[in-house]
Symmetry: C2
Subunit: 196 residues, 2 copies
């Protein structure tokens, strides 16, 4: 018989594995890739300190919670590079199986809450989910800008691919749109992003 | 003239450096040390999902915010191992200088809020600060337990040193005290923690 606290600690120990999931983005000095746990912390900071720019009013705590948990499923499913069309195809299926296993470690009420948070983020149908999804687009761009946009260059990403993927920034955090465009334009000027 | 958003982004880019600060604790599989950014995410998760065990009622969002920002000063000051008496002596001085530089990147109102959060955590005089400080004691112990308590062994830490340092757990999150004691006792039994 596992009690409530034991269930919670089993979950909180299990999610330590998010520290071993590597993303494509490189940290500020370019020395290595960012882990998904670090990304989640950074995204939570953006959610907590930039919410005044959300186009619709958002609850800051709810936004921070979405940021903290949005990538936990990557423990089993791995990080799926946004421009990897093949792996994007079965991403949701892989992540749903991951959620089933990992969230099941929690007691019933928190399991339900965690599912709700993850689904909400994936569906992007609440103001907070739209806001955090848009932040999840700008956060890697800030890292790319700090590291010479090598990730775009090395993966042969094009300007139109990026613009397609970051529409949510324009729609949901308009104040950040000029920042995003400036990063794209500079990357094109510096030959790190193909102008097509 | 730097505008508000530029100041906020300068801060949010600067704190990326917390991903390069290494702590003593090793991640779940023992392969490497945890970064302070990862630790901050993990602590925020504990704060968000264990607040029902705080001895005094706590505001969950406020606790999560304290967890997210409590180590930002380590960008300049470095992580100070809790059992390193020499470096603990000037820790607060080093961290205060760091706070002065890093928080100054923010616009005035958020700079004030950030100072207040960091001071509150350091002083430990509110229910949320006491709660998160106690979580900050148990979080590395959970990692140690997953990695055979090598950190204690390699640094010649003793049982009485640990017990002295984790009193806050007993005081502020009594439900976690048996968990902490069990980790200590097992480490002693397994010869990873000196029984003195």
């Amino acid at each position: 018989m596992v009690n409530r606290l034991e269930q919670q600690l089993a979950f909180l120990c299990e999610i330590d594995k998010l520290k071993s999931i590597l993303r494509k983005s490189r940290i500020f000095d370019g020395t290595r890739e960012e882990t998904s746990a670090e990304h989640s912390w950074h995204l939570a900071m953006l959610a907590g300190w930039l919410h005044e720019y959300a186009r619709e009013p958002v609850d800051p705590f709810h936004s921070v919670k979405l940021a903290l948990v949005h990538d936990i499923v990557e423990i089993d499913a791995g990080d799926t590079f946004i421009y990897d069309k093949t792996r994007q195809q079965d991403r949701l299926e892989r992540e749903t199986r991951a959620a089933e296993r990992i969230f099941a470690l929690l007691p019933e009420d928190q399991r339900r809450d965690m599912w709700a948070l993850w689904h909400e983020f994936e569906a992007g149908r609440t103001p907070e989910a739209r806001f955090v999804r848009a932040l999840d687009r700008i956060q890697p761009m800030l890292l790319h800008a700090m590291t010479g946009c090598r990730v775009w260059f090395e993966n042969g990403v094009t300007r139109s691919q990026v613009l397609e993927r970051i529409k949510e920034i324009e729609r949901h955090i308009p104040a950040l749109w000029p920042v995003a465009l400036e990063i794209v334009d500079r990357a094109v000027r510096e030959g790190m992003l193909a102008n097509s």
